[in-house]
């Protein structure tokens, strides 16, 4: 009796959360006719935004992986207080609201920001450019990759690396041939999380990069812009964004399943 009660209660509570999470996403798909959604895809705002979103997120992902992997490797190895401090610092953007991230980016890289005068002298104005979009995405998404990659490297058996070195492998060779392949599922998962976060990035982009079609108007900004005039178009774009993100999730799940 007691056990049945417990099973029932946990079941009801869990089901409530599943419904809460699934219903809004489901509503996106079922409340519009397929014709309306198709019309939304052909909305002039859709194609440039999708292309820009895919392009910028791929670039930011490349930046995050290129810079984040060495950092994660170091964080996984280092034991000092400095490393823990750096680890906390790197995780900070996760808890910063996107709008705050936007202001912070402006105050750092904007025209009147800390680096503004220096960048201006170099003839490099970042705000309102596609570079700003990528920078905002890197800022908000990198922590997800670094955290995932650090955990993946930590989980490795340290002896394997030592053995590889003792067998004559250079540190680089041991890293690329032993550590990277073994940590790959964790690295891929971290990269996917980072990509998803970059794809959905809105607040910091709006603040730091502005909203101009083909240059800084990514899918989330296009959704918000379309919402001002045409709910159906906004809904269609949302469906598109969810579909892209969902496809990403499926690919990832399949790959992880295969790796196990």
């Amino acid at each position: 009796m007691k056990r049945r009660w417990f099973a029932l209660a946990t079941g009801v509570l869990a089901a409530a959360l599943v419904a809460l999470l699934a219903l809004p996403t489901l509503a996106l798909f079922v409340t519009a006719s397929p014709a309306a959604i198709l019309a939304g895809f052909h909305h002039p705002i859709a194609a440039p935004a999708l292309l820009l979103s895919l392009g910028t997120t791929l670039v930011s992902l490349a930046v995050v992986v290129t810079l984040g992997t060495p950092l994660a490797w170091w964080l996984a190895q280092a034991r000092g207080r400095a490393a823990r401090a750096v680890e906390t610092l790197v995780a900070l953007p996760v808890v910063i609201p996107p709008a705050v991230a936007g202001i912070a980016l402006l105050l750092a890289f904007g025209r009147r920001g800390l680096l503004g005068p220096l960048l201006e002298r170099l003839g490099w104005a970042i705000s309102f450019t596609t570079t700003a979009v990528v920078l905002a995405q890197v800022f908000v998404s990198a922590p997800f990759y670094v955290q995932g990659a650090t955990a993946a490297f930590r989980a490795l058996d340290g002896n394997l690396f030592v053995v590889a070195r003792s067998l004559g492998a250079s540190p680089a060779r041991a890293f690329f041939r032993v550590a990277m392949p073994l940590a790959r599922p964790g690295l891929v998962a971290g990269a996917a999380m980072a990509w998803a976060r970059a794809l959905g990035e809105f607040g910091a982009t709006l603040m730091f990069a502005g909203n101009l079609q083909g240059r800084t108007q990514t899918l989330p900004l296009a959704i918000y812009t379309a919402l001002e005039s045409d709910l159906h178009a906004a809904q269609a774009l949302s469906v598109l964004l969810v579909a892209v993100a969902f496809a990403l999730l499926l690919v990832l799940r399949a790959r992880q399943g295969g790796a196990r």
Partner: protein
């Protein structure tokens, strides 16, 4: 087990929609972002006139407010920055009555010190970083009208150069202003009222009257009334009082002279 049952009961009670026990004494006002300062300044006058009552504000872009109302949000009054939103709501059968209560005027703002040297509308064409409103929001629509009029007067080449200078189309007027205040934009187009709200950070360049448009601010009395016509009337009385006119004028609005306040009711 009993404890768990109690936890569930409490949870369910908390989740149940609260029965509306007593009629609310809170007036709910939806207002365009540009009205924030005026309305906040008039809040004490309203609360003095109706002790025990409060007014709740929801400030956002006019079209955002319209979307909220279309999707079931309740409010007593909507103060919009353009007629379009009120007309759409009226068509949807959500409006009891509406009328224009004030006017506002688009102006060009530049960061203090005017680094890009903008002294006239035509100078905007030589900037590299012009920020305006998105065409979907009122200030963006007005800005495009002004640019089109300038194109007619000075030629299509100028119109094209204005277009090329735009680096961002912001989703509300305060964001346009923020980009200029921060010095990120060389110039932007906002309402005079917004320019006044940041007068220590921006300089104003007027748009020639023959090219400018007048922004008409309508108020709509909504069917979804929360507090009812009595409190709504009281808010309008404050807005059209001497103090209300002063609050509007000192922040860049031109209040429409009201000989008598329209009587609300259903």
């Amino acid at each position: 087990m009993t404890r768990l049952r109690w936890v569930l009961v409490v949870l369910l009670l908390g989740a149940a929609p609260r029965a509306s026990a007593e009629p609310t004494r809170d007036l709910t006002v939806f207002a365009a972002a540009s009205l924030r300062e005026v309305f906040e300044a008039l809040r004490p006058a309203f609360e003095r006139a109706r002790p025990g009552s409060t007014v709740r504000f929801n400030f956002a872009g006019s079209q955002e407010l319209r979307t909220q109302l279309e999707h079931g949000a309740s409010a007593d009054l909507l103060f919009s920055a353009d007629l379009k939103q009120v007309e759409a709501l009226a068509k949807a059968g959500l409006v009891l009555s509406s009328f224009v209560f004030a006017r506002n005027e688009p102006v060009i703002v530049v960061p203090r010190g005017n680094p890009a040297g903008i002294h006239a509308l035509a100078d905007l064409a030589k900037t590299k970083r012009l920020v305006i409103g998105a065409p979907e929001v009122p200030i963006g629509g007005y800005t495009l009208k002004i640019f089109d009029a300038a194109g007619k007067k000075y030629g299509a080449a100028l119109r094209a150069r204005l277009e090329a200078a735009i680096v961002s189309r912001e989703l509300n007027v305060k964001q346009v202003l923020a980009k200029v205040v921060l010095g990120e934009a060389d110039a932007g187009v906002v309402y005079r009222s917004d320019a006044l709200s940041a007068r220590d950070k921006v300089e104003v360049v007027v748009v020639p009257p023959e090219l400018n448009v007048v922004a008409e601010y309508p108020v709509a009395v909504l069917k979804s009334a929360v507090a009812g016509p009595d409190l709504a009337q009281a808010w309008l009385a404050v807005l059209f009082s001497e103090e209300g006119s002063r609050a509007l004028t000192s922040r860049g609005f031109q209040p429409r002279p009201m000989t008598k306040i329209p009587v609300l009711g259903r």
